[in-house]
Symmetry: C2
Subunit: 429 residues, 2 copies
């Protein structure tokens, strides 16, 4: 099929008429599908069900250091949980603190601590007047919601396949003391699935912030979430904590990760890795906020997995469920939109999303049209600070939750909406 | 034995010499006992071990409304968890939100939200200049740590057996707009084990705060933590939410509670009960902070207990373990200190603590001396704001953790320390 931009007006009108018929037919089918969030599918949840058998009334509830896991205490988490969680991201246990069921909560609380008490004894951000965060975008909407909640001004930084535009990051961080942080999903980024290059990580580590209380918020959410078994299709990134140490900036980064998309979302364990200074600073809040997180769930996770190899094997079972879905979406996009010149999309090796870029000004209309036919997408704009995509172009596709059959159906509707909205745009131009 | 104040100096010196010998002997025994925190004992933990068998890989993980508990979502908690938790404090499910593993965390986060964003759209407390909390004391040290962390000025309000000095509470709350909150443990208060009278609760409900953003922080930590089976030895208090509604102040209270001392401390579930307005306000933070709390643990708790009657029966099993410990401490105190005029103590019907008042100026020295002999008590002063007991008199006794045998031993050491320090005080006067 030829590209839409090469068609005559008559050809476009004919195409549109044909597609509208198809759309009405699909709409009449009255389906209801959700591709809005990175929610694991039922089959993925079942992979962890055996974890529910790990602890029973007959269990020994002592951690390896003798800690009674059923009782209060141990604010930094069980030693074996800290060690295993550290291994997931290549960091030693002494840098790791294990928290509750969600790393999002740690990020929120870490920003909160900075707002109210300042970073490592610095002035509270809330009392500093304007403070700002760099937001590589498209990015994770829940990151942006945190900074928005706290009234932190967000500056959009363009993403590239190698990571954020580092020239812009360096310019801001090294010169502007109101810039206090940057949100990063360094591996299989949300939503593009890009992984930061070694050069990008090194440039991060080499930053010389104008603000003493600048921190990198390194959300390594998809550290082990590969889609492929082949080593050359598994992205690896440099370990940021040691990179920062080597560059002489050991306190510059907070790293977050969890088992939310490893075991059960919402019933996993989460962790933060950072320097001793930062840990001591954050403990000032933590030890007031809690007596300790759920150690029984930490014990359950550690006894279930035992070691890193088992976690990796588990993730390959996850990949076996996820991969066909990604490939089905990519196939539908390629077959239906390839060569039309009305959209581009990413083909990630891991993570939870495919990022789709429509013609400028079309994203909102495409998402609205898909909703009309019963397919819920992530709201257009959600991948940008304040929910505003300046190009109105980016759409996040989350293939994990639907079944493969539903995904084929949803994919058909999505591409139809892309075509129709693009045609309307072109015809009205 | 006659009261110390009736003894001659010679008698006091002789008594002291005798007690010092006893103390050296006990010290030489080299014991190590912890009576510092309200930590359940091993036997209490075992009462909940069957809960670990409730869910297995064969379980149906659907909540009663069909929610898949293994996946993301449901920020206010499972309907059946909200209902059961509400029943513990006599509040309907629509007012209840179920959180993670600790109500302390909810309290911290609720104060944090008020500091950063204000209460129900009000000006953030952090930007209001001086803000203050009333702190009935002796009280719970972790409450005071939260307000201290946030830089909120604390005003001590004396406790009576019927609750806080309500004349003082009314004077402050109804006239001083810098007073934003009050910490309350209304039932089996920490550390005295006092329960607020109906009149006290009604006076709370009838407060007409000078500050729109004043809230009562009602930590109903021991709502079902009776020590006795007999109805006339089970304290009951008025339900505060309906009392506030009836008085025309539906938004004035946040109520907190948890299963921390019902099932496993640190691996229980926690909850907040409050009005629809307050819930909507707090959700502005919650929905940014988390996608949802641990629903699997909520499901585990609800399926284990099934109903309120079973929870109550469980608490009577807890009481059967706790009661002899309280009675052992009370017996030791009565037998060793009764009539000496050097200390008074409470005899609660529930909760986790006995509150001991030594002669003014003796508490710190008693706690230090007990530590010398291997018995760790809660730090003297901890029960007051800023850790400063103006009388240096109050000591919190936590009988739950040691075994009965250990408790007898620790009790012997404690009373000896009380006597010795009191004698030193009297002799140096």
């Amino acid at each position: 099929m030829k590209a839409y931009c090469e068609m005559t007006r008559e050809e476009l009108l004919a195409e549109k008429a044909q597609l509208e018929k198809e759309f009405e037919a699909l709409k009449a089918a009255g389906i209801s599908l959700d591709m809005s969030r990175g929610k694991p599918a039922a089959a993925q949840l079942a992979l962890s069900d055996d974890m529910m058998d790990v602890l029973s009334s007959e269990s020994d509830f002592k951690a390896e250091d003798g800690t009674e896991c059923r009782n209060y205490g141990i604010v930094r988490g069980l030693p074996e949980a800290r060690r295993l969680m550290g291994e997931l991201v290549g960091v030693s246990a002494d840098k790791v603190t294990v928290f509750g069921n969600a790393s999002l909560n740690i990020m929120f609380d870490t920003v909160s601590h900075a707002m109210v008490k300042g970073v490592c004894g610095g002035k509270p951000w809330l009392l500093q007047g304007k403070v700002r965060f760099l937001c590589p975008a498209p990015g994770y909407d829940r990151h942006f919601k945190i900074t928005e909640y706290f009234g932190i001004e967000m500056i959009t930084v363009p993403m590239t396949p190698a990571g954020p535009d580092m020239d812009m990051v360096e310019k801001y961080v090294n010169n502007d003391p109101t810039v206090k942080g940057i949100w990063c999903v360094p591996k299989y980024s949300n939503p593009q699935g890009y992984s930061y290059s070694d050069e990008t990580v090194r440039r991060f580590a080499a930053l010389t912030p104008a603000a003493d209380d600048f921190r990198i918020f390194w959300d390594n959410a998809y550290a082990i979430h590969h889609l492929y078994e082949e080593a050359d299709r598994q992205d690896e990134i440099l370990e940021i904590l040691s990179a920062c140490e080597e560059a002489g900036h050991p306190d510059m980064v907070y790293e977050f990760f969890s088992t939310s998309k490893v075991t059960y979302p919402g019933s996993g364990i989460s962790a933060m890795a950072t320097s001793a200074n930062n840990t001591a600073d954050l403990q000032k809040a933590m030890t007031v906020q809690t007596i300790g997180h759920d150690k029984i769930n930490q014990l359950r996770h550690v006894r279930y997995f035992k070691n890193l190899e088992n976690v990796k094997a588990h993730m390959m079972a996850q990949a076996a469920i996820m991969r066909p879905k990604f490939e089905a979406v990519e196939k539908t996009l390629e077959e239906s939109l390839g060569g039309l010149g009305i959209g581009t999309w990413t083909k990630p090796n891991g993570g939870y999303f495919i990022s789709f870029d429509a013609l400028p000004g079309c994203a909102k209309a495409i998402v609205a049209k898909a909703a009309e036919a019963g397919v819920t997408m992530t709201g257009a704009g959600a991948t940008f600070p304040y929910g505003r995509d300046p190009e109105d172009s980016n759409i996040r596709i989350a293939p994990s939750f639907p079944t493969p059959e539903e995904l084929t159906e949803a994919g058909r509707i999505f591409v139809l909406c892309v075509k129709l909205v693009s045609l309307e745009k072109m015809l009205s131009a």
